[in-house]
């Protein structure tokens, strides 16, 4: 086949597809972060730890209760979402009126505590978690071997991302939510329970993180630091996409996944840092992010 910059096109298409898969993790996680920040104005640094809790929950359910991956996809987001609601009720609700930084510091501290507790019990090497039976193996696409599970990851995260975007931007519930963040007093006057909406939204954002965790468990190492490794990149994605924009987070997640994939082919040593380079450029040119609305 033909060559692009010295790399055979086969290898390139394979890397693009892999980048898309990674992008779907970035999209799912940054979606949760964007929802929480866009709707609640909380910088949720616990997101990575909640993603890790999702993966560990899936592992524990399988290990001790024999609950398989498919049931875990539904149970784990609910369980971790409830945990998120508890955090919101106990700590975050008191910080709404204060500067963003207080929420950042609190959630960062919580993340460190959660990670430390898990590392204390489980060590850092990680726990084994197998790909579910139905998704094992793969198919040879000609230019690469695509594992079935990775194809499932792209498909499912696209569905979840689009469903969330639709729910927030196009449904009545979503419109109440958006109104409540713009003008809570007025919305309350209409008889809508604003604090409850806020709490449930935070729980939903956390549930999204946990869902990403369950999906990551079969392919990434289920270890206590899996969240902290990913969360910095996800924050960069959200900043590039625009802090308040849902569609921005989704699109940027996928695009940056592809960019990272390409970097791994042409200059692998920089694959860790290319996203931050892009973040710097975007912030210099468009401080509100690519899709964000200037404050």
């Amino acid at each position: 086949m033909f060559e692009i910059f010295g790399i055979p096109s086969q290898a390139l298409f394979g890397q693009l597809l892999l980048g898309l898969i990674n992008g779907s993790f970035y999209a799912l996680l940054s979606l949760g972060l964007a929802v929480i920040f866009g709707m609640l104005n909380i910088i949720n640094f616990t997101h990575g730890a909640q993603y890790m809790m999702g993966a560990f929950c899936a592992y524990l359910l399988l290990q001790y209760l024999g609950i398989n991956y498919w049931a875990a996809l539904i149970i784990v987001p609910i369980v971790v979402g409830i945990f998120g609601i508890v955090i919101e009720r106990l700590f975050l609700q008191h910080l709404h009126k204060l500067d963003h930084l207080y929420g950042l510091i609190l959630t960062f501290g919580l993340a460190l505590i959660i990670e430390g507790v898990f590392r204390n019990y489980y060590g850092s090497s990680g726990q084994p978690y197998q790909v579910p039976e139905a998704l094992r193996g793969g198919r040879n696409l000609g230019f690469m071997f695509l594992p079935n599970y990775r194809a499932w990851v792209i498909a499912f995260s696209l569905v979840v991302c689009l469903a969330t975007w639709y729910a927030i931007e196009r449904t009545r519930l979503g419109s109440y939510l958006r109104a409540a963040t713009e003008n809570p007093t007025l919305v309350r006057a209409f008889g809508i329970n604003v604090p409850r909406m806020v709490t449930l939204t935070y729980g939903f954002g956390v549930a999204l993180a946990a869902l990403a965790g369950v999906m990551a468990a079969p392919i990434y190492n289920v270890s206590p630091q899996m969240g902290s490794d990913l969360i910095i990149v996800v924050f960069a994605v959200v900043v590039i996409g625009g802090m308040g924009s849902i569609m921005g987070a989704i699109v940027t997640g996928f695009v940056l996944g592809i960019v990272e994939g390409l970097t791994k082919v042409f200059f692998p040593e920089a694959s860790n840092t290319v996203i931050f380079g892009i973040m710097i450029i975007v912030l210099l040119l468009r401080p509100a992010g690519l899709f964000g609305r200037p404050a």
Binding site: S124, S125, G126, P128, Q130, G138, P218, Q225, D229, K264
Partner: protein, 405 residues
């Protein structure tokens, strides 16, 4: 009256001080510092386990019987050379630490090595791998105990080439350790008639290996050499299973794999892996008994060879200090350690060479299949033993400036 009181008081104070120092003159205080990764990808092969091993060594040495007092501190170097050297300097300058122990992550070890040399203390290396520590960067203040990249390349690398793995593609962790391991293994592969088809560098602590594995698959090399460790190796092997690496006829060479990595992968995924360690908890009664004591503080975990190395080198160091009756001159203590032959229940009998390299046998293991494992921790079967003299790089080949002939 006041003057009289002052003089009496002064005399009394002087007498007390004299008596006090006379009593303390017999007690040598030694302070040890365990410096390693407590929170990230290398924390299972050292971390708290190394601290426990050091405590056991101190207890087994019985400082009181030698008229010594031994204190232990520990810190997390976060796998960053600047953090490691800062902690080392503070320990030496402010906290009067005499010896630093463990230090995995070769980039940190190489940096701390220079600080120890500058301050004339002692560096007891266990976790770090780079063979440069007893090569061009060798130091009269350092002892490299458990293993190094040359030994791994010569054991795992050579055995794989000899059994048909003739073409290699390297997946290398992009820092000092990965480069050293790739360099040493490349040399072994080429020397034994093999070919290196290519390689790719990945950042330390990489989550997703899919694109690197894709490049490895495209190279069609028979063997994918993993010049990385800890979480990186686990991720690469796990994702390799997903991408059908072995189904496609390729195999992984785990150049540095610890028992903790095998536990994390599970025997189903890890079975058949060839690896080299210099200590296995289930080797003999001595190792089993020691492991049981260690597990009292680390239940459910198994000690990697680096943890065993911490115990053995701490014990040997304390014996040397007791023989010299002082811990202040680092060079002298290390010279004494090289003078005294070593003997402990974990590594058996051995000795330390002029370049600081500790010599002991190396064991080539294969990971058992799930049905072959009879109890928790029963994961290795012994394939071959390399005698101490052959396992490590010959003294003259290292390029160590201290070795003149």
């Amino acid at each position: 009256m006041k003057l009289q009181m002052r003089i009496t008081g002064g005399l009394a104070f002087a007498l007390a001080a004299l008596l006090g120092t006379a009593a303390q003159a017999e007690d040598i205080t030694v302070k040890l510092g365990v410096l390693n990764d407590m929170s990230s990808l290398y924390s299972d092969i050292g971390g708290q386990g190394s601290v426990v091993a050091a405590k056991m060594a101190i207890a087994d040495f019985n400082p009181a019987a030698h008229g010594m007092k031994v204190e232990l501190v520990n810190a997390d170097h976060l796998n960053k050379p600047d953090v490691g050297t800062n902690i080392a300097r503070q320990w030496f300058d402010v906290d009067h630490v005499d010896a630093i122990i463990d230090v995995p992550t070769s980039s940190v070890a190489l940096a701390v090595n220079e600080v120890v040399r500058e301050k004339n203390r002692v560096f007891l290396i266990s976790g770090a791998a780079s063979s440069d520590l007893t090569g061009p960067k060798c130091s009269p203040n350092s002892v490299h105990w458990t293993y190094d990249t040359w030994m791994l390349a010569n054991s795992t690398g050579k055995s794989i080439v000899k059994t048909g793995g003739t073409t290699w593609f390297f997946l290398t962790s992009d820092y000092a350790f990965g480069h050293a391991l790739e360099r040493d293994t490349k040399a072994v592969v080429l020397a034994n008639g093999g070919q290196v088809l290519g390689g790719v560098l990945h950042p330390l602590n990489t989550q997703d290996f899919s694109s690197f594995l894709l490049q490895a698959q495209a190279s069609k090399a028979k063997i994918i050499g993993l010049a990385n460790a800890g979480g990186d190796t686990i991720n690469a092997i796990k994702q390799g299973a997903e991408f059908g690496i072995t189904v496609g006829g390729q195999n992984f060479a785990g150049l540095l794999v610890f028992i903790n990595d095998v536990q994390a992968l599970g025997l189903k995924t890890a079975q058949g892996l060839i690896l080299t360690e210099t200590f296995y908890w289930d080797m003999n009664d001595g190792t089993r008994a020691w492991t049981k004591r260690w597990q009292a503080e680390r239940p459910g975990k198994f000690p990697a060879m680096t943890v065993a190395g911490v115990y053995a080198e701490t014990l040997h160091y304390l014996k040397a200090v007791a023989a010299l009756k002082s811990a202040t001159d680092g060079k002298a203590v290390v010279a004494k350690m090289k003078d005294m032959p070593t003997d402990d229940p974990l590594f058996g009998k051995g000795y330390i060479r002029a370049d600081g390299r500790k010599i002991h046998p190396a064991y080539l293991f294969e990971v058992k299949k799930p049905e072959e494992s009879k109890y928790d921790g029963d994961v290795y079967k012994l394939r071959a033993t390399a005698a101490a003299e052959e396992a490590f790089r010959p003294l003259k080949d290292g390029g160590c400036p201290m070795v003149t002939n």
